[in-house]
Symmetry: C3
Subunit: 205 residues, 3 copies
């Protein structure tokens, strides 16, 4: 029950970032809602397809579809106010990242996947929706370009797998892993950390 | 037999729209044919992967592959004439949309998926190929930007599912659902209906 | 053992082309490594998902993930030198193309897929990573735009399937098919062959 609520909260937050990107790209009503749905559910759908869990969980239950649709409609109607909330959404997005990374790797382990698969699947669950969002609106995915965003998700997924391999109880491990993702992501946001860019070609005489 | 012919007709029409987009993007021969194939088959392949029906049906039979290849070659060779047929292709595309939405949701129900999954899968089957087409040629998917295109597909898929839940015979329901998609799409085309754009920020004094 | 080494070599070469594209698009460290991983593994992951082999092989073993990560890091650090090696990478890429096309169609046959599926899956395995690479950095896929690249892959996959249907021993057939891909691709590179572009509209008086 609590897990479902947290799951829906993560979907809603990612859907809001998708809908905002759709508004910024001047999509129409249906486009904004579609990008919201694909951003909110995309990571989980890819996760389930990679694990062979078909049809994907989030396409089997009404609340999982309704949540991003409603968020998309609200953002469409009130986007000028939501844009002012962008800072709040960034914080909520960090929460979604933490939730999806740990839940994604946990789902992979529960499906019997080996540890390496669970780490990758956790990362893909966390960042997949955002990549879909950016490709749909014609941009190079943000996660590839700036900020420390994927690294905390990777860390969190790895902690879940290590905890599982060490036989630790899954719930405290998941909470600790999610806390780690949140902490690293929020510090990165507050300090404006960016991943390094490629070294420039050296000057020639 | 009739279903296969209708299926191939839908694939051919979508392949033609893909090939025309490829020509417009100045792709080479192989590029035009590839976009034609992916536009024609993409929606069905995603449908089958989401339902766990692998390898996807349309990759298992020669006619399903040959149809979009031949269409791609013909459009490549005669594109100046095909472009003049663009209006006819739009009408045929409405037919493909109707067919794919109803066949997609029907396939999902036949695979034992719940109703909500069948509605989403029907929609994805109908619009997936066009989204792939536009992403490949570097454009924001048309279905997200303009015109009433996805809504009739969604309606048709929903009618198939409601008919199934009410225990109605599937063939008349599918014909009715396809007719509804066609009717809404054609009225939207003739009247130039567009989905609403996001409200502009209000001016400030 | 030899197959694994060849497989890893193909992944490494494709990862290098992905990392170079990421550097050219001014991605950050994580972006360059991610594009390297997705370019190296993408074709094989799509292949396994289409065949229903989940989780995909390349997400189940550490070496398959570490190889493109290490290549991505090296290209990131030394990209000015690697760029000078671009000609060598093109040759190595032809080798990767040969390997992936034949291994992809072989894997499909081994999974019990029909011949038509094996040809398509072989082609997708060979070109899928490059398509993902180009879409992620915001470009129309190179394979659709220029050069004779997909045709040798298609030929190689077809030879594997024909050999299988004729009951020939798989290893010599695979070697011959890979040699054919290599030969056609290298001749195309050396001669600068390009696939034809769409015929221009005729002038009118």
């Amino acid at each position: 029950m609590l897990l479902t609520v947290l799951d829906l909260a993560g979907i809603a937050v990612f859907a809001a970032s998708g809908a905002l990107a759709g508004v910024a790209a001047r999509l129409d009503l249906f486009g904004v809602v579609t990008v919201a749905v694909l951003t909110g559910l995309g990571g989980g759908v890819i996760r389930d397809v990679l694990l062979g869990l078909t049809p994907p969980t989030s396409l089997r239950r009404w609340p999982y579809l309704l949540a991003p649709v409603v968020v998309g409609l609200l953002v469409f109607a009130f986007h000028t106010w939501v844009t002012r909330l962008r800072r709040a959404i960034e914080w909520a997005d960090a929460f979604g990242l933490a939730l999806f990374a740990t839940a994604g790797s946990g789902a992979a382990l529960a499906a019997g996947a080996p540890g390496v698969t669970a780490v990758v699947v956790g990362l893909i669950t966390a960042i997949g929706g955002g990549v879909i969002r950016d490709v749909l609106v014609g941009e190079v995915p943000q996660v590839l370009r700036r900020e420390v965003y994927a690294v905390p998700a990777l860390l969190g997924a790895a902690v879940v797998v290590v905890g599982h391999d060490m036989g630790l109880p899954p719930v405290p491990v998941a909470i600790g892993a999610a806390g780690l993702v949140l902490a690293v992501r929020i510090v990165a946001m507050l300090r404006g950390w960016n991943a390094p860019l490629p070294p420039a070609p050296r000057d020639r005489p």
